[in-house]
């Protein structure tokens, strides 16, 4: 028996608990890309990101009988699980920095500043690069807050730091990104009206 492609995520989850393999495939097809994006924002390595998500889906199947019986918000459930597994991945490899790290000098980045006209795609790459240039702990805090919408308390617990440190890192991140991206202001106003 296969599941209907019109089934809701909650219905698919219920089918998965009942051992329906096609429900796993359908959930995978729906959520693989966004979950890989969640993972890569934290671990930065595409192969590791795919590995983490595939491993998680394999676990969903092998532990299917232990899945929560009524899961109305399947997407957030999956996303939280992948986020936690990504943090575990970093922790296992001792890749969660204990120090603040140095924020790079924006003045030294003149060579990377844009020409008068940039394509949207190139702008996106510049934004990716700007975030990637943050010191790693600062970057993780910023990504967890602004992209993963985690509270400062959740971030502090996840990275084993204080809430005050989270706040400091957010301030550093905004300061650097404001300086780094300010030169795109004209273009931003064009793209976003």
């Amino acid at each position: 028996m296969s599941v209907s492609s019109s089934a809701t995520d909650t219905e698919l989850f219920t089918s998965l608990r009942g051992g329906e393999a096609s429900a796993l495939d359908e959930l995978f097809r729906r959520h693989y890309v966004p979950l890989c994006r969640t993972a890569i924002r934290l671990v930065r390595d595409p192969a590791a990101a795919e590995d983490i998500v595939q491993d998680f889906f394999a676990l969903l199947w092998t532990k299917r009988t232990n899945l929560p019986s009524d899961t109305p918000a399947v997407g957030p459930y999956l996303r939280t699980a992948v986020r936690n597994r990504s943090l575990n991945y970093l922790r296992d490899r001792k890749r969660i920095p204990v120090g603040d790290g140095e924020v790079p000098e924006t003045a030294a980045d003149r060579s990377q500043q844009p020409a008068a006209v940039l394509e949207n795609e190139e702008l996106q790459q510049r934004i990716n690069a700007a975030i990637d240039r943050l010191p790693e702990r600062c970057r993780l805090v910023f990504v967890m807050s602004k992209l993963e919408h985690m509270s400062h308390r959740e971030i502090a617990d996840g990275l084993d730091i204080s809430v005050k440190t989270v706040e400091n890192q957010m301030t550093r991140a905004y300061k650097f990104l404001r300086q780094y991206l300010s030169c795109f202001l004209f273009l931003i106003s064009l793209i976003h009206g």
Partner: protein, 287 residues
Amino acid sequence: MKLDQHDIDRLVTNYREDYTPDVERGLIQLHARLTPVRQLSAPRKKRYPYLLGAAAAVLLIVAAVFLFSGDGRTYLSNDDAPIAMFLLPDGSQVSLQQGSRISYDPDRFNEQDRALNLEGQGYFEVTHDLARPFLVSNGSSVVRVTGTAFNVRADADLLEVEVSEGSVLVKTDQETLPVGAMEFATVATGQPMVHDRAPHLNHHAWRTGVLKFDHTPISEVLTYFTDNWGIVCDWEHGQACDYPVSGNFNSTDATAVLHDIAKLGGLTLRSIGDDAKHFQLSGRCKQ
């Protein structure tokens, strides 16, 4: 105008949204992870169905046999066909040359690692798995990878690897050597490890049917026939002739290619013995 916090928040929402992995490929890899290893260890014999079509110009015959022996290991062997392809429990694929076999412990494979033994020659396309290294051993040396494609020839005293994609680590008790794409390495008992470029991947010829030479000494050319097909070629009266061979040869018939190469050098090739594996070269070669 200056960026405020809301501008920053709006800009960063698409961070890494340009990353789009291949969903169907990911699903195949997931299915490979879910292949139940223990199900394979059922004590029975069966034909193994995973024989795939290949771009190789070599005729494929379904003759691979999937066996479980009394020692608890699973053996995949190719007794009859020129090439037999197998899908391993982790989703990796191996092409075995005739007369070759691999074995692994079905209770441990794909748990902490993916360790197997090879006797003969095989081409491996290994699925990426950072957590479980893929290990090919001949009992004394090991090729270690996390995901790539490479050819291995192994017996008790020799392990030779030629890499077509990615890189591998060749490990012995004494040393560890990284071997990159288009390179090969050989470990032979009592001899130093050999590591060199392999721009033409001639050790893959048993599978691809393609040999490429560019001013390659005939002595080296003949080693490829030995390594790929077990063809041994001697010189009449032990008088070796050394001349360079150039050209691309694409054929399923290794003996015919050897005849062509002999002719190009002004030599005569004749079969000695009746196993179509032993030949003798004679005549005055063109220097």
